[in-house]
Amino acid sequence: MRKSQNKLDIGIISVFLTWSLIPILWLLGTSLKSELYVDTIPPHWIPNFDLTAYKKILENDAIQKTLTNSLIIAIGSTLLAIFCGSLAGFALGQLVTKRHIEFEFWILSSRLAPPIAIILPLFIGFQYFHLQDTLLALILAHAVMLIGLVTWILIETFRAIPKEIQDACEVDGCNEWQMFIKIMFPLARSSIIGIASLSFLLSWNEFFLSLVLSSSNSLTVQVLLYQSIGYQTFSLSQLAATSVIVLLPTLIVVSVFQKQLIQGLTFGSVKG
């Protein structure tokens, strides 16, 4: 009885894993094929492990530039979100005696609002201030997208640190700023690293805001990849190779920072 039930469970999960993984494997396979083999009928199921596509892509100026832009934007917006979020997390998780629910939810609501509602005025505003198509505009826009989630989790992180530590600090005569920098931030470090990695990933993967706000100077690799689909600039195997490169941060985060990924994507409703 037990055995046959397990078989059913294993069957269901195998089907699901196949369905989740096969498109990714197909993408990886395509990136490893020579151009002649990518859109043949019948398809070449096994790639011929030709690395030309990767070589061409990594030597391409446009790809290099957009990868650098994406990296700068992801790091910049993550730093900004962590800076604002950890200060707020410390204030709302440690310095208060009772929770400021209204304020906390105001911060979270920035994540639930539809991006189109914010992007339309930002699109006009950035043009007015001559910030359209600059890295700064994208860093700001991505930071706002991240801040609700980052702060929400950091409030929980700081709240979990025992309040007695504060008293001990005060006896030693440190003020709130020293308490934050010397004691609390280091205590929350491992959690902050996890959330920073998640933020980096979300900014790196982001498509909609970047599509609207960047056109040439601040073009991200995601937008370049999108623009190249359907044009002859890159071959299919080169597009697939770019996609695989773009997926690398994902693989790191799902394997190393799984806990924060789960916590972040579900707004902390489960602990992961």
């Binding site: 699901f16 989740s20 019948p42 604002c84 310095l95 105001w106 189109i116 909609f208 990849l225």
Partner: protein
């Protein structure tokens, strides 16, 4: 005169407040203001038109079409995601092995860069050279234009959305299930409870609040989904797969009709706020209880 603690608190909350004010509150107020004007890139003399933009929305047949497309995509994809996510979470919990590796694989579709995976789907769904049409041709079916006509293209979008977001429901539910006391489950099994009895009397009641969270979060996200539509069909053929959110994008960013797009966006915000209110109330209640 504030004491030092209160001053520190205000100081620490200043950066986030400034960022949110400049980047969300001001833009939001501005959005409402321009929704009462006829501002557009092609229109140099902006004037106030009050509720004209709003009135026009409800006269536009495209509004009703895009809302029905949004509803179709949201209802079908969220239903499939919750249904599949629940079955999978229960199967996973029955087995109960070390979850780390399997979870990492399962999470890839939702954690991956959407442009990369959606490009790949578009390539696999291609009518003449796509691998999916080749596979179904082996089984004797004729070619399907996956992204070429309204019904089929909407089905493709729904399936790809389901592929991306079933992991979300699955992860949320497995995490909730892993907190269940194993002794209760074993005791029930000793009493002869089979999988359906276990699911009905132990798992589902425990999962109920999490199913609601999953439902609300998925509805909120699916209703404003953009990436799949933009990359798979660009709203086409014609406007046949243009959801409401996508229509606002076209109107505001592509055609630069700021005033009218702003009015459309205000309506979207109001609807999403009504949906999320219940969710917020619940979270507030839970937060207070903790």
């Amino acid at each position: 005169m504030l004491n030092r603690r209160a001053r520190a608190k205000i100081l620490f909350l200043t950066p986030i407040t400034a960022l949110l004010l400049i980047m969300t509150i001001f833009p939001f107020v501005y959005l409402i203001l321009i929704s009462f004007t006829d501002r557009a890139a092609t229109n140099p003399n902006t004037k106030i038109v009050w509720f004209e933009n709003y009135a026009e929305i409800f006269q536009d047949h495209q509004f009703y079409q895009s809302v029905s497309i949004t509803l179709i995509i949201t209802i079908f994809s969220v239903f499939l995601e919750i249904f599949l996510g629940l079955i999978l979470a229960l199967s996973f919990t029955n087995l109960y092995r070390n979850l780390w590796f399997l979870r990492a694989i399962v999470m890839i579709p939702m954690a991956a860069a959407p442009v990369a995976t959606l490009f790949n789907w578009r390539y696999m769904l291609n009518t003449s050279t796509g691998v999916i049409n080749y596979i179904i041709s082996i089984f004797g079916f004729s070619e399907v234009g996956w992204l070429d006509s309204k019904t089929v293209a909407l089905t493709s979008i729904i399936l790809v959305e389901t592929w991306m977001w079933t992991p979300f429901v699955f992860i949320l539910l497995t995490a909730a299930l892993s907190s269940i006391d194993k002794n209760i489950v074993e005791a029930a099994q000793v009493d002869g409870a089979n999988r359906f009895v276990l699911a009905k009397h132990i798992y589902i009641p425990i999962l109920k609040p999490f199913l609601i969270i999953a439902l609300v979060l998925r509805i909120l996200d699916a209703a404003k989904s953009f990436d799949a539509i933009q990359i798979l069909t660009s709203g086409g053929p014609g406007y046949d797969t243009a959801s409401y959110n996508f229509l606002i994008y076209l109107n505001g960013i592509q055609y630069l009709n700021f005033g009218s797009a702003a009015a459309q966006a205000v309506i979207l915000i109001i609807v999403l706020m009504i949906i999320s209110r219940r969710f917020f109330n619940r979270l507030v209640r839970e937060a207070v209880e903790n």
